[in-house]
C-alpha cells in the first residue's frame, strides 16, 4: 500500500508553510527586543566538517585519557559499574585458559557462534557442541545455547560499550538471544570515545552500512519495578568481554 501522495505532499507543504516564519535561536525567545541576528553555527557540529565536530564533542563528553592503558582502565571501571565481566588476556594462550575457565564455571554445553578468526579459535578451544549461525539457524535451537560468542567492531572506553553490527557479530540475534553473550576483541579494537566510534563506522562501511549497527552497554537490564536494577530482562543476563 503506497503512501497516498496527498498525505506526503500535505505534510511537506505544511512544513514549508510553517517554516516560512523563522524561529528564534535556542536560548532566545520570540519577540525579544534585541535584534534577531542571523543564526551563528559556531557550536553546531552538524554543519561543521567531521574533524572539527569530533574535536569539539571531545571537549564536552566525559574525559577518557590519552593512552591505551588509560582507556583500558576506564573500560574496566565502566564494566564494574555496568556488571560486565571484563577480562584482559595477556596473550592467546591466556585467552584459551580464560575460555576454559568460563566454560567450567558456567557449565556450558552448547554454544552459538559465527565464523571468524577469534570465534573459530574459541570453538576449537572449547570443543563443545557448536551452533553456527552463518548459514541460517533455528531460533529455538539458538535459544537453547548456553552462550553466544561473537566478535565486534570496536570497544568504547568512554561508556564501556561494545560496537557491533550484524556483519561483525554474526547477525542480529546471536548476541541477544542466548543467556550469556561473550565478546572476543583484539586490543587494537579499543577506542577512546563515542566520536571515534562513529568515525570508525563511517570509515569502515562508507555508505554500505550493515542493516543493523549498535552499541551494547552491559548485560540486558531493567529498572521498571520500583527503579530497582535487574539484569537479564530480555537479552543476556551475563556479558563477558575477552580482550586479547
Amino acid at each position: 500500500m503506497p503512501t497516498p501522495t496527498s498525505s506526503r505532499e500535505a505534510i511537506l507543504s505544511a512544513i514549508r508553510r510553517a517554516l516560512a516564519v523563522p524561529a528564534p535561536k535556542p536560548g532566545h525567545h520570540a519577540g525579544e527586543s534585541e535584534p534577531q541576528q542571523e543564526p551563528q553555527f559556531e557550536n553546531t557540529f552538524s554543519i561543521l566538517g567531521q574533524e572539527a565536530a569530533t574535536s569539539q564533542k571531545r571537549t564536552w563528553l566525559p574525559p577518557v585519557g590519552e593512552s591505551w592503558d588509560e582507556w583500558a582502565d576506564l573500560f574496566a571501571a565502566n564494566s564494574l559499574d555496568l556488571k560486565t565481566q571484563w577480562i584482559l588476556c595477556a596473550d592467546e594462550a591466556d585467552l584459551k585458559t580464560q575460555l576454559e575457565k568460563l566454560k567450567s564455571e558456567n557449565g556450558w554445553k552448547k554454544i552459538g557462534l559465527h565464523r571468524g578468526e577469534l570465534t573459530d579459535l574459541a570453538a576449537e578451544t572449547l570443543g563443545l557442541e557448536n551452533l553456527y549461525v552463518d548459514g541460517g539457524y533455528d531460533a529455538h535451537e539458538l535459544e537453547k545455547c548456553d552462550a553466544g560468542i561473537t566478535q565486534c567492531d570496536a570497544l568504547v572506553a568512554q561508556t564501556g560499550s561494545i560496537l557491533s553490527t550484524n556483519k561483525s557479530a554474526g547477525g542480529r540475534v546471536l548476541s541477544i538471544l542466548p543467556p550469556h553473550h561473550v565478546v572476543i576483541a583484539r586490543r587494537e579494537q579499543l577506542l577512546p570515545d563515542l566520536p571515534a566510534a562513529f568515525e570508525l563506522m563511517q570509515q569502515k562501511y562508507g555508505d554500505k552500512y550493515p542493516s543493523l549497527m549498535g552499541f551494547i552497554t552491559g548485560p540486558s537490564r531493567t529498572g521498571d519495578i520500583e527503579r530497582i536494577l535487574v539484569l537479564g530482562a530480555h537479552g543476556p543476563k551475563k556479558l563477558t568481554i575477552l580482550c586479547v
Binding site: 569530533t54 563528553l61 541460517g136 535459544e143 542493516s211 552497554t217 537490564r221 531493567t222 520500583e226 530480555h234
Partner: protein
C-alpha cells in the same frame, strides 16, 4: 487512564480498555484532571513510591551528568542541532526517506492517527500475519495502536517490562519513560498471580524473570515486530532505537516484518550527531552513561546478511506536529527527545502523578504540546498545572524553555477565548489596586474579617474555598509591611 476525548476517536467496540480509565466514567479532561489530582495528592502511598523511585533517578543522573566535561556546552549544541533539524525539516525528511528507501525500506507518511493505524493494519493483513510483538513506542500510544490491532483480532504483546505490566492492568503508561513507576512490587506480583497464575514474590528479579519467560516464546512466534524510534538520521537513512532490556533488539530482528512508527520531528542531520545525543538522552532520561542497547537500523535484511526482517516499514506521523511547527514561539518544543527528565523534576508531576494528565505525554512537555496536538481550549488547564518554578526548563537536555511555553499557552488560550469572569476579576483587581485608600482600609479590616472566617472555612460559602479546603489561610498581621517600613524609617 482517562483520555476521554481521545477515546471517541478509538475504533468503537475494541475489547481492550488500554486508554480508558475504567474506574471513572469519561468526563471533561479538566474535570477529570482536578478530580484525579485531588485524589492523588492526598494519596501518601503514591507519593512515597514516586519519591523513592525518583530518588534513585536523581542520584544516578547527578553522578553521570557530572562526568561530562561541559554539560552546558553539550546542551547548547544539542539544542542547536535540533533547531537546525527542525528548521529544515522538509529537507531532512526527504533526505531520510530517499536514503532509507534505497535500502529497501517502505516509508509511509501519515497526516493523522487514523491514516497511520490503517496503514499498519493493512501491512499486517496483507502479510496474513496475526501475532505481534511490540517494543515500547509512545507514538504507538498516541495513535491508540493496540486497541486498533486488537479490534482486528491480532494478538498483541508489549515486550518492554513496564509496558507489559500496564498492558496487563489495561491502563495507559504512567510515565512515558518509566511506564509502571506507580506500582509497587507487591502490586505487580498480585497482577502476575492473577493474570499469569504465577506464585507470589516480592523479588523484582523473580518478577522480571516471569516476564522474560512469557516473552521469550512470543518473540520467536511473532510475525510482526512494532517499534518506535528515538532518532531518524537523514544523512544515512537510519533510525536509532534506545532501550535497556534488549526487547527492541529482539522485536526488530526475529519477526519477518518490522514496522517502526515515529513523529516527523525525530530527525537528526548526521549520524555522528548521535555521539552527543545518545549519551545525553541516557544521562537525562535514566542517569546512565549510555543505555543498554542503542541500535541503528538502515533497512530490512540485506543481501548476504544472516538474519533480519524481510520487510521494514517506517511510518512518519504528523498528527498535529506541523501545527506546533507553525508557531515560531513554541517550535522548539519539537526538539524534545522524550527523555522524561522534565517529568522527573516537576513538583506537579510528583504530586498528581502521570495518569492524572490524561494524555499520552505527561508532565511539562505534555502540557506544552498536547494543546497543539489536540485542541487548545480542552487542554488549556494543563498549562496551569505548573508552579512556574522552572525546574523543567533547567533540566531539559535540549534547552526547551518549558516554563515559558506554559505561560504562552495560558496567554494564547485567554486571547483565543477569554473567560468572562476571569476578565472581570482582573479588571476589578486592577481597579482595586489603583485605590490606595480602599486598599489600606481593606488591610485594616482583614484581621477582623478573618475572625469570622472559621464560620465558613472550607465550605462552599467561603470565597477562598478552593484554597482553604485543604490548607490553613495564614494569619493576617495587624501591622502591615507599610506600617513596619514607615516605623523603621523613623528609627533610622
Amino acid at each position: 487512564m482517562a483520555i476521554a476525548p481521545e477515546k471517541i476517536e478509538v475504533p468503537a467496540g475494541s475489547g481492550a480498555a488500554h486508554d480508558d480509565n475504567f474506574h471513572n466514567p469519561p468526563e471533561k479532561p479538566s474535570a477529570q484532571f482536578h478530580h484525579d489530582a485531588d485524589e492523588k495528592t492526598a494519596d501518601l502511598r503514591h507519593r512515597e513510591l514516586i519519591q523513592s523511585a525518583l530518588g534513585k533517578y536523581y542520584v544516578a543522573r547527578a553522578g553521570k551528568q557530572s562526568k561530562f566535561q561541559n554539560w552546558g556546552a553539550a546542551r547548547q549544541t544539542a539544542a542547536e542541532v535540533k533547531w537546525e533539524a527542525v528548521g529544515h525539516l522538509d529537507q531532512y525528511l526527504r533526505e531520510f526517506e530517499e536514503k532509507i528507501t534505497a535500502r529497501g525500506t517502505k516509508v509511509f507518511w501519515a497526516s493523522t492517527e487514523e491514516e497511520a493505524r490503517d496503514y499498519i493494519v493493512g501491512v499486517i493483513k496483507d502479510a496474513g500475519a496475526r501475532r505481534i510483538i511490540k517494543s515500547k513506542t509512545m507514538t504507538g500510544e498516541e495513535i491508540h495502536l493496540n486497541a486498533a490491532l486488537e479490534k482486528e483480532g491480532f494478538e498483541v504483546a508489549e515486550s518492554d517490562l513496564g509496558e507489559y505490566i500496564v498492558q496487563l492492568r489495561e491502563e495507559a503508561p504512567y510515565h512515558f519513560v518509566f511506564p509502571a513507576m506507580h506500582l509497587s512490587r507487591g502490586e505487580i506480583s498480585d497482577l502476575f498471580r492473577e493474570k499469569l497464575g504465577t506464585a507470589a514474590t516480592d523479588s523484582p528479579e523473580e518478577l522480571t524473570m516471569i516476564a522474560r519467560e512469557v516473552m521469550r516464546e512470543k518473540y520467536i512466534a511473532a510475525d510482526v515486530g512494532i517499534s518506535g524510534g528515538n532518532f531518524a538520521i537523514a544523512e544515512t537513512g537510519m533510525i536509532s532505537i534506545t532501550e535497556n532490556e534488549g526487547n527492541a533488539r529482539l522485536s526488530v530482528s526475529l519477526p519477518k516484518i518490522h514496522i517502526a512508527i515515529m513523529g516527523i520531528e525525530k530527525v537528526l542531520p548526521k549520524m555522528s550527531d548521535l555521539a552527543l545525543f545518545l549519551p545525553m538522552l541516557a544521562t537525562a532520561g535514566a542517569g546512565q552513561a549510555l543505555t543498554g542497547y542503542n541500535t541503528l537500523l538502515g533497512g530490512p535484511k540485506q543481501e548476504g546478511e544472516i538474519d533480519g526482517p524481510q520487510e521494514f516499514h517506517v511510518v512518519l506521523l504528523d498528527n498535529g506536529r506541523t501545527k506546533l511547527l507553525a508557531d515560531p514561539e513554541q517550535r522548539d518544543a519539537l526538539s524534545c527527545i522524550r527523555c522524561g527528565a522534565c517529568l522527573n523534576v516537576c513538583p506537579i508531576f510528583k504530586n498528581v502523578g502521570g495518569h492524572t494528565y490524561g494524555t499520552t505525554y505527561q508532565g511539562p512537555i505534555g502540557s506544552v504540546i498536547t494543546p497543539h496536538f489536540k485542541e487548545m481550549q480542552t487542554w488549556k488547564h494543563l498549562s496551569s498545572a505548573s508552579s512556574l518554578c522552572g525546574a523543567c526548563t533547567e533540566t531539559c537536555p535540549v534547552k526547551i524553555d518549558l516554563a515559558h511555553h506554559l505561560l504562552q499557552n495560558r496567554r494564547n488560550a485567554a486571547t483565543q477565548k477569554p473567560v468572562w469572569w476571569e476578565k472581570w476579576a482582573m479588571k476589578g483587581f486592577a481597579w482595586f489596586m489603583n485605590q490606595p485608600r480602599l486598599y489600606r482600609l481593606a488591610l485594616k479590616l482583614a484581621p477582623l474579617a478573618q475572625a469570622f472566617h472559621p464560620l465558613v472555612k472550607g465550605r462552599r460559602l467561603d470565597p477562598l474555598y478552593v484554597w482553604t479546603a485543604g490548607r490553613e489561610f495564614p494569619k493576617v498581621k495587624r501591622e502591615t509591611f507599610k506600617d513596619f517600613w514607615a516605623k523603621r524609617g523613623n528609627l533610622g
